[in-house]
Subunit: 210 residues, 6 copies
């Protein structure tokens, strides 16, 4: 409140700190595994990323030390997040961010927060998924979906028929329930691989779709 | 990854959702307490906010139903966050956001995340404080300060002499320790008042200093 | 059970331990900040405490290193705990103790436990608030109030409209909800400042109103 | 702070509340199991309690519906708390209260808090064990003993050789370690039986040894 | 999946590891307390165990350093687990294992898991109690009983009349509620004594009733 | 103790309960998604499972409603668990079970517990991984590996350089650290998909390699 332009701090800045993203685009993980040669298929995929996104997401570079692991990750990721589903792409990204918020995963919050901003055209929605999805103005469908995903993240041993029933009452089919569970489960995997290796997101994400 | 411009979703947007910030600037809390007339001192303070920030922070409007409460809050807030201290203003805001991240407080994360972006001139630093301060590149001083603040937030009953000793070893004086504790404690109060009343941040914060 | 007068322990006492309150009245915090001169207003307030209570509460002495901080604390405290409200003074003190019990704060449990004993004229009520408010025989109003205050303390991110609705059903107005939230929030601040500094309660509290 | 004798609340009391201990001496548990005839041995034991304590502890009356259960409980209790041990009776009672504090057990905190006050001759020590043993001024031996007991209470699956080693370094023998563990374990049982049945402590405990 | 007979691992075994149960039958606890001479009654009891079970359970050997403690433990155990009750012996063992699963107690999971397998004639039931009782196909009565026992284990301070009411609605009498509570409470004691001392189960249990 | 052949319970069994595994081999998930036709590659893989294991693991049948998802899962699983790695197959299975124990996942504990029994030739090792890996006699390497995997499971946001450093000190390479993280992360995904859908393990696992 009236706080950022006081006389005692004329510039209102502390320019001497190193930027918080220093190294994020070059030292992608704490493991320093050298990249292996890309298979032709993966080389084409990386080129497509460059073409469409303007960059290759760091998670792909992190996996690039081993072609088999990279291929398996990309296949599963693309199926889950891009293939036809009763869940929209935005809904899948909302799950990704709400799960990553519970797990406080820097990489996934940055990368998928940007996706929610972009897909929704509503930047604060990305913030809300990263901060506390319960504070967002959501439809009943969205809320039921995120409640299930976050409970599954926090206490998977407590999920029971009643939880699935709640999703059914919100209009989700058996296949939709699988997809909600699979996306939430996938980010519980990715969050942990990212945290275990201190994976850093491409710094370009931070300013996207603000 | 190459995901936001596929043929099946040409615009890459879901424009039909209501914006996530709908109502945030008008329905400031869930309690709907009518504003009381401002004292001359508070009227001048609100005018100063308008002048310097371009708006009156919603937390002030939320307290405006009762002049005594508003005055006490402003006095404590300004002393803690703006008065001279061994902690820089940025450091105090970093504590504010890291504490609010633990408590997942929408209002404080938005308002003070913007302050960290602005004071640091390094927008991703604000994101990192809101997501997981442990993933940020921090000085030892900053890390010790935030470790204490977040432990005090999560498990105040576990704070002991050893924790204070760790701050002293990082160069903090007795007075600095009070200030770290006081700022962390204050946001444990504010986070809870905001969550209890569903306080909404001014929507202007979202795009500030990105 | 028949245990405290056995032959093997004739006196039933271990007099050689130093008293648990040794130093509580002199070494008020672990920080050792020297008191600043009191403003005339605060000097009068301290005198009033001496006159009415017989002592100055240690929390005031702890804040006395900085007149601005002391003044802001006293103003907020007196407004919250003593100003007119839909909550009785006893109810506000019950919230203070139940919150402090969750946070296991020695200072606040001792000082405000004494207040509950005194205001209620029912010493065990103070014990119950400090031990487990759920075990107390409470009115529905009291129980709803404490359930909200303790949930807000433990998991502020989970508070939602349903929680406020439960308070409304128990007869609380919007203003009452603010006051419940504000008192609970305030003690989440005070508990943490006390724990961070190892603040010690005046030893006179222990025997008050037993 | 000058709060309990203001004009607006002349008497400073709310006499109309039912006492918090109403029924505690008559409705000992929520189960209402009728007492069975006492065996001669137990009748003598109850008489001894009346003689030495002035009352029969309610936990004994709670068990009195079944002579075999009563006998087994008394035998185990008396061995643990009264038989010769490397731990003093006060130390055993300190463990009892610190464990009961973690479990927030009304019955055991009241009954064994009184025992700590009585055996130590230092009433605030009883309060500190019930509130937060970490805030008490303790010897290294006492602290090590309580740290083990409370960790065993909170996270028994995490106890390992290193924890036992810490007790050995504080001077405890193998037999002492057993006794610390056994007392802590016993109160984890008693706390749960008391909570499960809403067992109420004799109201006489509240004012004992203050 | 097709994984255990691949060429690169012809035998599918790693025989060089020491068996996980090495020492379990000889080094029964980490304390190494020497056994005291057995009373005639206990000697007869040990002989009866040898006769009927083929071995003396290690928990008895662990207690054998002190005849009074051994006797008290056996008396309480046999009353709880073998005396007439509204709960079947299998139900009592199911509680024992579900509680021990929450507390992750190696000794009790092994010994009482074997009992559930044996008493039920359905080995996977023992596994399910040890892994996650919520995943088992249970009657409403069994489920209510285990929900109460595990809540009492995890959060005893949260047990209230509503929890007892749920047991009554599932058909349990006041005496049955005592027995459920007493068995759950007892294993909260035993789990902790076993974990505190690193008590090892007789290795013969592992293969029993598979 | 001497408990399973008493006169009052001659048979020592309760044969009338439905087996706990009733339906596990037919109703594989709670979603009832109909299987899609297998691709030739997957048909061959299922046949290979039948040939080598004697059955098709239920997780494969659960995924069989969608060929793309089945293929992606099998590719990732086989790479992680069967491809060359600095971790032995047994070590990878030990991680799988310890992670699944934290998450209390019935499916994975049964299926991968069997794998640990089989690969180690030491059945109790499988039990220990499922119950509490801390109670097992492990090498320093195994212990460090499991400590990292379980911390990553429980609190991924707390993993930092110090945790990776601990693995390095135990002899693990950067690539090994990736593999530990990837296996732990994968089972955090699988556990959640299994819990979300109530996936049931093939009943044949229960008796394998006992």
């Amino acid at each position: 409140m009236a706080k950022r332009k006081t006389k005692s701090s004329p510039a209102g800045r502390v320019p001497q700190r190193a930027p918080a993203t220093a190294g994020d685009d070059t030292d992608i993980t704490a493991l320093g595994l050298p990249a292996a040669p890309l298979s032709p298929e993966m080389a084409a995929y990386f080129a497509k990323c460059e073409d469409k996104l303007g960059f290759v997401p760091n998670v792909l570079k992190a996996y690039a030390f081993d072609p088999a692991k990279l291929g398996a990750f990309v296949a599963m990721y693309n199926d889950l997040m891009l293939a036809p589903s009763g869940l929209s792409k935005l809904e899948r990204e909302m799950i990704a961010v709400a799960v990553s918020s519970h797990n406080r995963c820097y990489y996934c919050l940055v990368a998928h927060g940007a996706a929610v901003r972009q897909l929704s055209g509503d930047p604060p929605l990305g913030e809300l998924m990263a901060m506390n999805y319960r504070a967002a103005r959501l439809s009943k469908r969205e809320r039921a979906m995120l409640d299930f995903a976050v409970k599954l993240t926090a206490e998977p041993w407590q999920i029971e028929e009643e939880d699935r029933e709640r999703l059914r009452r919100a209009g989700f089919s058996a296949r939709d329930i699988w997809d909600i569970a699979a996306v939430a489960a996938f980010f519980n995997m990715s969050n942990r691989l990212a945290s275990a290796t201190d994976m850093r997101p491409n710094s370009v994400y931070h300013a996207q779709a603000r």
